[in-house]
């Protein structure tokens, strides 16, 4: 049996055992006879809430996924619409960041002077939690939608910027000298030599960025609310509905994985062997 097959089998086995343990650890209380008014008001005779068993989560997931695009008013939309809003915000902020980070990264990587001059700013701004920008963004931009996009922008710019600069600065000197002997201009060198050479490093930065952006959008939407998967989690938290919370956690994981897979596919295209 090939390794992949065996690994898949082990994965399924782990999942199965985990679900079994989870299901048996969270028994659903038996429905008793009719409750008195007092018991009804107290939320049933049963003691405290518990984590729902996986069978319930799957049932809930089926309900949600069978009608992912319903729209029952501004505060109640299907999971598909919510994920759509989140993806729109992430991709907008991310592309804006890429448009700025990659050219700027080139400049920094090609010029040791700019590298040294901008480095202090990058080092100070980079470790700031993107959500810390939110109050300032809301105040200056005066629009919660754009503020959320700005937060994505600011969190995804740094890995791309630093990786681009690093990749550009570390293009092998031989190749640059070859370009010189062929009398290529600086622009031509940038596009025909440096860009292909640095592309794998740049793509790695982009892959890190999209991961961070997807992590941050959930928190940002929990903060500003309205729409998106983050709002969905918040709204269900509001109702202490763990079924929906677990379901949305899974959805966030799946979408994050798909984003990562897409970028890793792109980065395979630009890989090269020296």
């Amino acid at each position: 049996m090939p390794l992949n097959m065996r690994a898949a089998l082990v994965s399924v086995a782990i999942l199965f055992v985990w679900l079994l343990l989870w299901e048996s650890a969270t028994p659903v209380p038996e429905a008793t006879e009719a409750l008195s008014e007092f018991e009804l008001l107290m939320g049933g005779a049963d003691q405290e809430a518990r984590v729902p068993p996986p069978s319930k989560v799957v049932g809930h997931a089926w309900d949600e996924l069978s009608n992912p695009f319903y729209d029952a008013g501004p505060n109640d939309k299907g999971i598909g619409i919510q994920l759509g809003y989140s993806l729109y915000r992430v991709l907008t902020g991310y592309l804006a960041a890429a448009l700025i980070a990659i050219p700027l990264g080139f400049v920094i990587g090609m010029s040791p002077l700019m590298y040294k001059a901008l480095n202090p700013f990058i080092q100070v701004l980079r470790p700031i939690s993107p959500l810390a920008w939110m109050p300032l963004a809301l105040f200056i931009i005066k629009d919660s939608e754009k503020s959320a996009i700005f937060v994505i922008f600011i969190c995804s710019i740094w890995p791309m910027l630093i990786n681009t600069a690093f990749g550009v600065a570390n293009v092998r000197g031989d190749w640059l000298r070859v370009a010189k002997t062929h009398e290529l201009g600086p622009l031509s060198t940038a596009f025909r030599v440096i860009l292909p050479a640095a592309a794998p490093t740049i793509l790695t930065g982009m892959r890190i960025s999209i991961g961070i952006a997807w992590l941050v959008i959930v928190a940002a939407e929990m903060l500003v609310g309205g729409t998106g998967i983050g709002y969905y989690v918040w709204n269900e938290w509001n109702n202490l509905d763990l079924n929906s919370v677990i379901f949305s956690i899974l959805m966030i994981g799946v979408v994050g994985m798909l984003l990562d897979l897409a970028l890793s596919a792109v980065s395979r295209l630009v890989q090269y062997q020296e």
């Binding site: 939320g43 505060n75 609310g225 109702n239």
Partner: protein, 482 residues
């Protein structure tokens, strides 16, 4: 459930002010038959009675039109008597309500004013509005106006947008994403003064609810019912500039607990209260419902006291918008305001509360089990302590009138706890932010001086609050920051 602020202005037995010593019929509940000493007096009493019999009592109002009519009459009458309610009642006792109504009718075209207030509004400047709300039962009128069609009735297409917390509601209102929003009564005051945000003139045309909050403690503290035992506790309040914060501080301070030294008060958004209580991050909270009732329902907390028992009739949440919105779009503002008054009036009626619970429980609005909302709104609830069902119909109530004295009280507490410093012009701010009614604006258009003063004294936990002496009031507290 009556709205005391809408008492009949032509009735000498009803106070329009209703302070704590109010002796009017509405407050004492007893019928007052004037002694008939002479023939004329007897006749007047009779005429007076006729007025009362033909005029609708506030409990009989059928719709918003009646409410508007009454608000206008009340405003004019209050204006004439310079807001001196005692002299209004004396005068009415002397001449009778019918005479005053007739006399007034000859100098002020009452019907025209009323019609003007209702009809003079031109076309709506903007029909599609966004109104923010934080998902709590205080926002009931703002929310239920949507599913129950109150906005549509006034020609508006309103989207009610759920908001994660008050800081966001404030910022979204400040940046114009919301045309109007559900807020806490202290917020428009703080925003106007620039406390905690940039100073932007805000107005608060209507209070949403009175009462309706509670102090909830973790079930492990069932034996610590005396606030003196609360040293070291961590409490949650929904916002710095909230009645919750001020009432909790007031409450514990009355028991000798310094809210800044002896306990820790944290700002926790209402939806996160129960989760934090369960996790043990909080020992208790003073929060809006349904999260008090939800803690009982989840069996993690019990209701220590309803805020109604701290200050009966205290204001809590409000409907607010920027002054800019009101001046730039007077017709839209007017229609929206009418819809809110209408909805608030409807919410105040006990018999509608079941229906409202059903309407606001779904995901699009509060996203809570209906049984929890119903316990809050009908006041038939369990407290998590006793094995019985309580019956407190006015656990939460709805009365739109923005009393200026409430604003003064809030400002005294803001100063007491150091949220604002220096000299405060209590009355000026109160009157700027708590606009009496949209009625005032319409009357101004017609050349009348709109009434804006509405003050009363309060007794909170047995301590008198005299609105004329805010500074002395602050000084009278043993525990304070200023």
């Amino acid at each position: 459930m009556t709205m005391k602020s809408l008492g009949d202005p032509f009735d000498s037995k009803i106070s329009l002010i209703h302070d704590s010593r109010c002796s009017c019929e509405q407050c004492t509940g007893k019928q007052f038959e004037p002694g008939t000493k002479s023939h004329t007096e007897a006749l007047e009493a009779q005429a007076d009675k006729m007025v009362r019999d033909t005029r609708p009592r506030e409990s009989e109002f059928s719709d918003a039109e009646d409410v508007m009519d009454r608000a206008i009459e009340s405003a004019i009458v209050r204006g004439i008597f310079g807001h001196n309610d005692a002299s209004r009642r004396r005068f009415l006792q002397m001449v009778g309500g019918a005479s005053l109504a007739a006399a007034l009718g000859s100098i002020v075209p009452l019907d025209k004013v009323k019609a003007a207030a209702k009809d003079s509004m031109g076309p709506l400047e903007k029909k599609k509005l966004k109104v923010g709300f934080v998902p709590i039962t205080c926002a009931t009128p703002i929310i239920m106006a949507h599913p129950m069609g109150f906005y549509a009735k006034h020609g508006l297409d309103v989207e009610v947008i759920k908001t994660a917390g008050w800081a966001v509601a404030r910022d979204k209102s400040l940046n114009g994403e919301y045309d109007a929003s559900h807020m806490l009564t202290p917020m428009p005051l703080a925003m106007t003064m620039g406390a905690g945000s940039t100073a932007t003139p805000y107005i608060m045309p209507a209070v949403e609810n009175i009462n309706g909050q509670a102090i909830v403690l973790h079930v492990k503290h069932k034996d610590k019912r005396d606030p003196k035992q609360w040293k070291g506790f961590k409490f949650g309040v929904p916002f710095d500039y909230s009645m919750h914060n001020f009432l909790l501080r007031y409450y514990v301070a009355e028991f000798g607990i310094d809210p800044d030294q002896d306990i820790q008060i944290r700002v926790v958004p209402p939806p996160e209260m129960v989760a934090n209580l369960r996790a043990g991050n909080l020992d208790g909270y003073l929060s809006p419902d349904p999260f008090n009732q939800r803690a009982v329902y989840e069996k993690v907390g019990f209701i220590h006291t309803l805020t109604k028992d701290i200050w009966e009739g205290h204001p809590c949440c409000a409907f607010a918008c920027s002054q800019k919105f009101a001046t730039e779009m007077p017709n839209t503002y007017g229609a929206l305001f009418k819809a809110i008054v209408d909805a608030t009036h409807y919410s105040a009626k006990a018999e509608n509360r079941d229906e409202i619970s059903k309407a606001i429980a779904p995901t699009n609005y509060l996203n809570q089990p209906e049984i929890v909302i119903k316990q809050v709104l009908t006041g038939r609830y369990v407290d998590g302590l006793e094995q019985k069902v309580h019956d407190v119909p006015d656990r939460i109530d709805f009365d739109p009138f923005p009393w200026h004295s409430m604003a003064v009280w809030i400002l005294t507490q803001m100063k007491r706890w150091g949220y604002i410093e220096g000299d405060v012009d209590y009355k000026a701010i109160a009157e700027q932010v708590y606009v009496a009614t949209e009625t005032g604006k319409v009357m101004k258009d017609l050349g009348y001086e709109p009434p804006s003063k509405t003050y009363e004294n309060y007794t909170i936990m047995g301590k008198e609050f005299d609105y004329t002496k805010p500074e002395e009031y602050i000084k009278s507290f043993a525990i304070k920051r200023s």
